[in-house]
Symmetry: C2
Subunit: 175 residues, 2 copies
DNA sequence: GTTTTATCTGAACATATGTTCAGATAGCAT
DNA sequence: ATGCTATCTGAACATATGTTCAGATAAAAC
C-alpha cells in the first residue's frame, strides 16, 4: 500500500511488492490471481473499512450534530490512513470496468449518507445549500483535501484540524 | 495530455504518444530529451497558463469581491481544462526532485494569492477563518473538486456551477 | 518416519519499455 | 541540379515487465 501510494500502481512492479514483504515475485501468485486484483483488494478493503467504521458510530439526533459528527469522523479517518486514501482516489483509472463499478458504488454509499444529512437539515431549515448533491461533493472534496497538506507530527493535532474544518463546514451550509 | 489524464504517466508509452500525434516513437526525441521532460513541460505549461490567466484579470477593490472573482475564475479555468488539471494533480510523484520543486513553487504562488485575499479580509473584519493557510487549502480543494463530477454538457452551465460554489465559499469564510 | 499439504524459490516465457541512431525523405536556398 | 537543414522512419539496444511452473523446503498429519 505504501508502495502504491508513493509510486503509483503502474510504476510498482510485482518484484518490488514481493521484496516489500520479503518474498520472491512468484510467491505472490499464491495470494492473488494477478496484479489488478491486488489493487482492487486494497481499495475494496479500504472502502469497506470506511463504511464499517462509519456505521459503528451512533448517529446523533439533529442534522447539525450529525454533520459535525460526519465532518470529524471523515477527517480523523482520512488523516490516519493517508496511503490508502491516496491510492483509492488516484488509482481508480487502473481498475477494469467491473472493479471500478464496485468501488464507485461503495463510495456513493458513503456520499449518500452525507447528502441525506444535508437534505434533512435543509428540509428543517437548519441548513441552506444551493444543491445538496453538489454540496455533498464539495464538502467531501474539502475535507479530503486535508490529506494534501497534513503530516503527522505537524503543528496541529487531529482534534484541532477537525475543529478548523468543522467551523468552515458549519458556516458553508448555514442558512 | 489526454492520454496522460486517462491512463497515467507511467502507463502511457512513448509509442502511444507518438501514435497519438501520427509519428514513430523515435521522432519524439526531436522535441523532448526524455519522457519525464515531456510530462514536466505539460505541467509547467499548465501552471503558467493558470498564473498568466489569473494575472490578466483586474482585481476588484474589496476582499469580498476579490474572493468572488477568485472563486469564479478558479472554477471556470479548471472546468475547461479537466485533463491538464487532472495530470497536474496526479502526476506530481512522477517528477524528479528538481522538477517537482519547480511545479510546487508555481502552485504555491497561486495559493498565496488566495491566502492574501483571506488575510486582508480577516484583518478588515469582512472574513473570519480559523487559519488562513488551512482555509486557503480547504477552499482550493473544494473548488478543484468540481473536476471530479462535472462533465461538459451536463445539466449545469459553468455560470451556474460558479454561483453554487460561490455561495458556499462566501458563507464558509463569513464572520 | 513417511506422506500430505502448503508455501516459496529461481529460472524461464513472451512481450513491452525508453532510448539511440544510421539512413531515408522532403522542403528550401543557392 | 546541388547542397543544406530539419524531420521522420525503422530497426536495434538493453532492460524491465507480469505471469507461469517444475521442483525445493518445511511444517502438519497420520
Amino acid at each position: 500500500m505504501r508502495l502504491f501510494a508513493k509510486q503509483g500502481y503502474a510504476a510498482v512492479s510485482m518484484r518490488q511488492i514481493a521484496a516489500g514483504v520479503g518474498v520472491q515475485a512468484g510467491a505472490l501468485y499464491n495470494y492473488t490471481p494477478d496484479k489488478q486484483s491486488l489493487l482492487f483488494g486494497l481499495m475494496q478493503g479500504h472502502m469497506q473499512d470506511l463504511l464499517t467504521a462509519r456505521a459503528a458510530r451512533d448517529r446523533p439526533e439533529d442534522p447539525l450534530a450529525q454533520l459535525e459528527d460526519f465532518t470529524r469522523f471523515h477527517i480523523a479517518f482520512h488523516m490516519e490512513r493517508a496511503d490508502a486514501v491516496f491510492v483509492s482516489y488516484m488509482e481508480l483509472r487502473n481498475l477494469d470496468d467491473e472493479n471500478f463499478a464496485t468501488i464507485e458504488s461503495l463510495r456513493r454509499r458513503y456520499e449518500d449518507e452525507l447528502e441525506q444529512i444535508l437534505r434533512q437539515g435543509v428540509s428543517t431549515g437548519v441548513f441552506s445549500v444551493p444543491d445538496t448533491k453538489i454540496a455533498t461533493l464539495a464538502l467531501i472534496a474539502m475535507l479530503t483535501g486535508v490529506n494534501t497538506w497534513y503530516r503527522t507530527g505537524g503543528r496541529l493535532s487531529v482534534k484541532e484540524v477537525e475543529a478548523i474544518y468543522w467551523d468552515m463546514v458549519r458556516k458553508a451550509v448555514a442558512p
